[in-house]
Amino acid sequence: MRFLKIAKDDWTRGVEDLKKSFRVFGPVKEKEAYDFRLLDKGVLPDFSFQNTRLSPKSTVYPQSEILFEYTLDESKADHHVHKVPEKDYSPRVILGIRPCDAKAFELVRLNFDTPEYKDPYWLSAYEATTKVGLACDDPCSTCFCTSAGSGPYDEAGLDVLLADRDDHFLAKVLTEKGEAFVSAAGWNTEAPDAEAGFEKLAAEAEGKVPGGVPTDKLADKETVALHGADFWEDVAFSCINCGTCTYLCPTCWCFDIQDEVKGAEGVRMRNWDSCMFPLFTLHGSGHNPRATKVDRVRQRFMHKLKYFVDRYGRGIQCVGCGRCVSSCPVNIDIRRVARLMNEFEPAPEKCPA
């Protein structure tokens, strides 16, 4: 680990140099909002954002992605056989990812990189990616990263952490990927005394993040009792079962697999899917194990705040980015639900008279 200082007037040159060896993704403002895009030549990432509207998960995990191609044309020798299309897994960098979103990749990795199976699409893209974080000095009122095991200067999942200091960036180079990144950009002004500054900035920023989302008792709850808690109906009432919360979430990973055929040429693709949709769990027989809105809302929160906690022992499946809070059209608030779940006590069993 080492510290560098990057002057802002050297930044532009460095970013352009990076594009020679990396595909560079960064936040840009389009229409009204910031989102991560592949940056063309001459386009700089726009760091005047609090956080992007959509999470950067699509840079590794596109909303729609082709898994296989095939032909149904029986005159071809390989008809009906699945072939992986050529994919670009050359080095890419996400420039200006917030620490919460970077941590999210580490949580999602638990799903796609397991001892039994590896998802080659997600993992290849992930391994090709260098994540250059932008520390968060100005958190949103909906942020609760410090309650969710992350923080505005959290280094989890990052290769480099940048702190914006008006006329320069301070860079904390964390990994070998990070070293390769700064050397490709030609940034090499050492700033050995920056460490204390970083710590001070981190402490200041952490102080600004709204807290008070307790999650400490979730692991101790009994799953079936929590699932049967009486608050779910009230929590779910306003939900319209759209996919906004799950599609904006950096840690939601669920997907659907679909075949699409045009003429004799077809693809098997996957698309993001959402536990909010009834179709997500509908059986062929018509039976649906999560048939009601309450079932589905409960599934989302139980998955993030209980099942994940129990399965991996790595805290909650949430990094506190606040996107679902601020974008929910009906104001369902995970912070409120986390509180309800964490404080839940099952009603004492009645003695048989």
Binding site: F68, H80, H82, V84, I257, D310
Partner: protein, 282 residues
């Protein structure tokens, strides 16, 4: 990196209508590349994703037994897009198989001389057939104690694998209790009655060495469980195989969970004792 989404190409060797309503068809599949068969080493209770190129995939229990090399067998109910397309396919057509997926019945325990009571209903008899064939294999039979099979369907014509059922009826190393909900066939010489009722009459009493494997439609399971309770079966001796909507089959796509467990990867086989600790979202 192995691609767990890649289906092995297979050729349809035979496709036979199984039931009188013509909604169930049994497919024998042969690997196009013989070396794939070795990679597809499975145990009874596991399932696979059947892939119809251009339509999609469906998760189906493996009905053949690892003691039957050379082919895989699946019995498919016609309900959706993929199963309908599959029913329309012909012998010789190329499709895909992805797997084996999921866990299996607890053979590590059962093969220590345990008594096995198989309770099945309707078309959920596929992995049970696999299990019976596996247990009756001359190399395996001595590893098990008594074997009971209680299997019911709506009518005689809805029973799967009828020829084999009749063969097993003739054997003295397996106790068969075939039943139908009702029949007007005067020559029907087996039981008439619902599976839970027949279970109550025919299933052996519980003991530490007796395990029940229950597989069937939700209503059958709902009424069989109290019967097993009455017979004294401990919940960790009741083994069930679940179905949920699945896509990936490898615990990644997120839809088939019951609590923290994925039916596709951590299941489909669970003991009732395990299920008691999860929300009943199946």
């Amino acid at each position: 990196m192995e691609n767990p989404y890649f289906p092995y190409p297979v050729r349809i060797d035979s496709a036979v209508i199984e039931t009188e309503d013509r909604n169930l068809k049994t497919f024998k599949l042969v690997f196009v590349n013989p070396e794939d068969e070795k990679k597809f080493a499975y145990r009874p209770g596991q399932f696979a994703e059947l892939s119809v190129t251009g339509k999609g995939e469906i998760p189906i229990g493996i009905a053949s037994s690892p003691t039957e090399p050379g082919f895989l067998m699946f019995t498919v109910n016609k309900v959706g897009v993929v199963s309908t397309a599959l029913h329309n396919m012909q012998e010789g057509d190329i499709m895909g198989v992805r797997g084996p997926l999921g866990n299996w019945y607890p053979w590590e325990i059962l093969e220590q001389g345990k008594n096995v009571v198989i309770i099945g209903g309707g078309f959920a008899f596929t992995t049970l057939r696999s299990s019976i064939v596996y247990m009756l294999d001359p190399k395996n039979r001595e590893k098990f104690g008594d074997i009971h099979v209680i299997y019911g369907a709506r009518s005689p014509g809805m029973l799967l694998y009828r020829d084999e059922l009749m063969e097993w009826e003739k054997r003295d190393d397996i106790h068969m209790h075939i039943t139908v909900d009702g029949t007007d066939d005067p020559d029907w010489k087996y039981n008439v009655g619902f599976v839970p009722t027949i279970t109550e009459q025919k299933a052996p009493k519980a003991d530490a060495d007796t395990y029940a494997i229950v597989c069937g439609p939700p209503v059958m399971i709902k009424f069989t469980q109290p019967v097993l309770d009455k017979l004294g079966y401990a919940h960790d001796h009741i083994i069930m195989s679940l179905e949920n909507r699945m896509k990936c089959g490898i615990g990644m796509c997120g839809r088939c969970n019951i609590g923290m467990e994925y039916v596709c990867k951590d299941g489909p086989v669970f003991t009732l004792e395990q299920l008691n600790r999860t929300p009943r979202e199946y």
